[in-house]
Symmetry: C2
Subunit: 515 residues, 2 copies
């Protein structure tokens, strides 16, 4: 405790109110708790004793000018000495902690917004100030996961009015960064996800930009899938741009394809999504606020939303779309945002590749009009591009499909895509995996179904999206005839152990129905 | 990975389905996360890669025949090597883990009861089978904290019907141990808490037992307070008895004063209380189910409930008691349980001592009829004992107070208390703290108020209830006149640092108002 005690003594506040200041020395340890902030202190730590901290206490942690709220875990010797503190990687990153830094630990302040949260739990309707206070605290990382879970549960079902949903969306925008573009029409495109290989965004953006639309597109990385659009684009160029860099790209080439996470457009949403995933709760209000807050923050005016519908997709029946569409449209209107929902076929994967680099190759094949480019990906991209062009008024209604196809076939979309990548730091050639293995069918017949969820699972077992070049490449589509012994897909991996694991799983859970 | 790989090879399942079995070697580390189960694995662990585990994944952990659900944290070298796993102390204890044990880690199974939870979140009324499934999973430790928080939020406010509250109580009893007594009247006493030094239970139990009532009392340890009744009794005798041991005590002396936690009467409640505390949600249904499930499981027939009412107590106004009383009575009736609620003065601490041993000394002083025994504690104990005697039919209505006083003054209650302690393992003399310091007043006047919450905080800063002999002893009560320089209370501590911290805090937050 020697060094920490002298540090505390050097602090005027510590002399006057020693119980209010707990100063320890930071010791880096490699502890990954993902986005949950954890501080590690010794069980015999004087600060713990003095403050009455025990394991799981929520505390305020400060290093220099940076502070956050973390959960306490007690870590004994030899990992930590009394007088030392360590932090989870997420917390250390935010606090910019370096070995030996003075770490001050105090009781987490009582959160005023918890009163509003409690009111919502008891069934009250919240006003915009109350929602601001909750979302402000969530954005700043002040809420423990259990508080976030309680908030999500209290807002689920029919418990949020349209007004509350609008206020929630506004609050989520308010506590993030907001982009603004000096144009009347700013085109955007979103997919609710759940369908592997549905990588239309880079193609649609290239076509729309080639048609003269402004398309400053931000995308997410994979959360539960084998690849997000940001992961796929990263196999082709740099996607981690800040707002200034992104603006420069958009000004130069009319479009960008970047990772939204680097822009912090709706930091509360990133936190909410993490807990929502653990709860597996569908909340219409949260879904609308999540999607629209990021679009409003990105400065979009026209958003096309691709909703794959299918038995193993996220949305299983088209009939469920009606209410969501109506509510989302009303919320969008409150922000002067126009949305168009396009239900699409969600019965099977779209492109051939599943995994960042493999999907990037499909995107290149379509843009370069290669003869063997995946037809379903090309068709769906043209369909969505056509909708977007008409929706944004870039072409007359009814003319979208023809214009989109022309921009693709003329090479204009491909040229624009190259320009975007060059502006973002250069176009790269996707890499290839070291290990490959075909999954073959033991019997011939017709492929009658493909399970999207199992396809995603196999690609993830092979290492996607963590390893850029791995995943699987599909060789068949629903309706195809196959002979016994024919390859159904090829697994790509970077380690023989991962290949074996993924292959073993695929053998036991073959995602193809052949009849 | 050598040892883990060979362990996996020795397992038949591992050969057939390697992706379903993750076998690692247990390495003990001193990591305290309180009741949250955490497993620590290396970021490059083959099991993580194969299963697609990442930090915060919920996994099933098995050692030998013991299994539980835990949350994954990734811990790099040198703390852990790939092929090793460690566990939080709580998880290691339940799994009876020893260094080198084979740890099998798989995906946590999908919980069927989450469908019922989701239905409740969406506003449905649950039937008894659904509540059984949820409480069964919570009792078995299968719910992550975020799921528990969502359940609590979904049940808060007016969202539980009386029928649901009854079913919830029944489910909580069903998944715990249940005691049964061969008597028509089994007396019990409960306090909703929040008032420091309100240690009437040992005295009331001794009087009631001396009057011939059967009083098999189970008590809790402190959750947020400086002492629970189990902590105080532990300063006097052994309180960690199993059901058989407790039965033997009750058969011999007609009463017991044990720690309920060792009996696992309502394991779900222990889990719910922990998360409820973090959320700070008052849910009437949860409160009723929490109290009554433990009383039903303990085999009680008549329960007296002490509810201190005061500005810094848990219940601030007596008017709030009406609805709670009515609902609790209806639920109790469903289990053939009679309850009587007694509102008491919650304006200031009751005994002089705050902290396990200091409160035990007060209890002894009252039971031994010492001339300087704290009068308020004596009075309140007699009031509650009188109510309990009349309520249970041990004495005619109106005669309770007289009989209770006679049993106390005759030494019958003290004799019975000694017999209880002897039967539980022997009566001990409470220890004394090494360091003491008086908090004095700088001005004279009348004590007009004492802040219960600050008194508790100071006792906790001094180390209570972790250290049995520490806390504080009050020297004044509301209405007392004090001169400048007079001691208001004395802090007791076992370390000079803790004394200084607690004293510094007390100086800055003097809990006495003197006017």
């Amino acid at each position: 405790m020697g060094s920490a005690a002298s540090a505390a003594r050097a602090d005027a506040a510590a002399v006057d109110a020693p119980w209010e200041v707990g100063a320890l020395r930071f010791r880096p340890l490699d502890i990954d708790t993902w986005q949950e902030h954890v501080i590690y202190m010794h069980p015999d730590c004087a600060v713990c004793r003095a403050e009455g901290f025990s394991a799981q206490t929520r505390v305020r942690v400060q290093i220099g000018d940076h502070a956050l709220i973390a959960t306490l875990t007690l870590l004994g010797a030899p990992l930590l000495a009394a007088g030392e503190a360590s932090l989870s990687l997420s917390a250390a990153r935010i606090l910019k902690a370096r070995a030996g830094d003075v770490v001050r630990v105090t009781h987490a302040p009582a959160l005023e917004s918890v009163r509003a949260l409690r009111a919502k739990i008891y069934g009250s309707q919240l006003d915009s100030a109350q929602l601001d206070s909750i979302i402000g605290d969530i954005s700043a990382g002040r809420y423990a996961d259990v508080l976030i879970a309680a908030f999500l549960a209290a807002c689920a079902g029919e418990r949020m009015t349209l007004g509350e949903t609008i206020d929630l969306t506004r609050a989520m925008v308010k506590f993030g960064q907001r982009l603004q573009w000096d144009r009347e029409v700013v085109a955007d495109k979103h997919c609710v996800g759940g369908l592997p290989g549905n990588r239309t965004t880079p193609i649609v953006v290239a076509i729309a930009a080639a048609a003269g639309l402004l398309v400053p597109k931000t995308s997410s990385r994979a959360i539960t899938s084998p690849a997000g659009t940001a992961d796929v684009m990263e196999a082709l160029t740099c996607v981690t741009l800040n707002a200034t860099q992104m603006r420069r790209v958009v000004e130069r080439v009319g479009a960008a394809l970047v990772w939204g996470g680097a822009l912090s457009l709706s930091p509360a949403d990133d936190v909410l999504i993490r807990v929502e995933r653990a709860l597996d709760i569908d909340s219409e209000a949260q879904l609308i606020a999540s999607i629209l807050s990021k679009k409003v923050a990105a400065g979009s005016t026209h958003v096309l939303i691709d909703v794959p519908v299918g038995h193993t997709a996220k949305v299983r029946e088209q009939s469920k779309l009606g209410h969501l569409h109506a509510a989302m449209t009303r919320v969008a209107e409150a922000f002067g945002l126009k949305i168009r929902i396009v239900p699409t076929d969600g019965s099977q994967p779209v492109g051939r590749g599943i995994g960042p680099a493999l999907e990037a190759l499909d995107v290149l094949a379509v843009l370069q009009c290669q003869p063997d480019a995946p037809a379903a990906l090309r068709e769906r991209s043209l369909l969505l591009a056509a909708e977007l062009l008409e929706f944004c008024g870039a072409v007359p209604v009814g003319d979208g499909r023809l214009q989109a196809a022309r921009l693709l076939e003329s090479g204009a979309a491909w040229a624009r895509f190259q320009a975007i990548c060059e502006a973002q730091g250069g176009l790269r050639t996707p890499g290839q995996a070291v290990f490959r293995r075909d999954l073959t069918t033991s019997r011939g017949g017709i492929v009658t179904a493909i399970d999207n969820r199992q396809v995603s699972r196999i690609a993830k077992l092979a290492g996607a999206p963590r390893r850029q070049v791995v995943g699987l490449a599909l060789h068949v589509r629903v309706g195809d005839a196959v002979d016994a012994g024919a390859p159904l897909c090829t697994l790509h991996a970077q380690a023989s152990g991962e290949l074996d694991y993924a292959f073993g799983y695929a053998l036991a859970h073959v995602p193809f129905v052949i009849e």
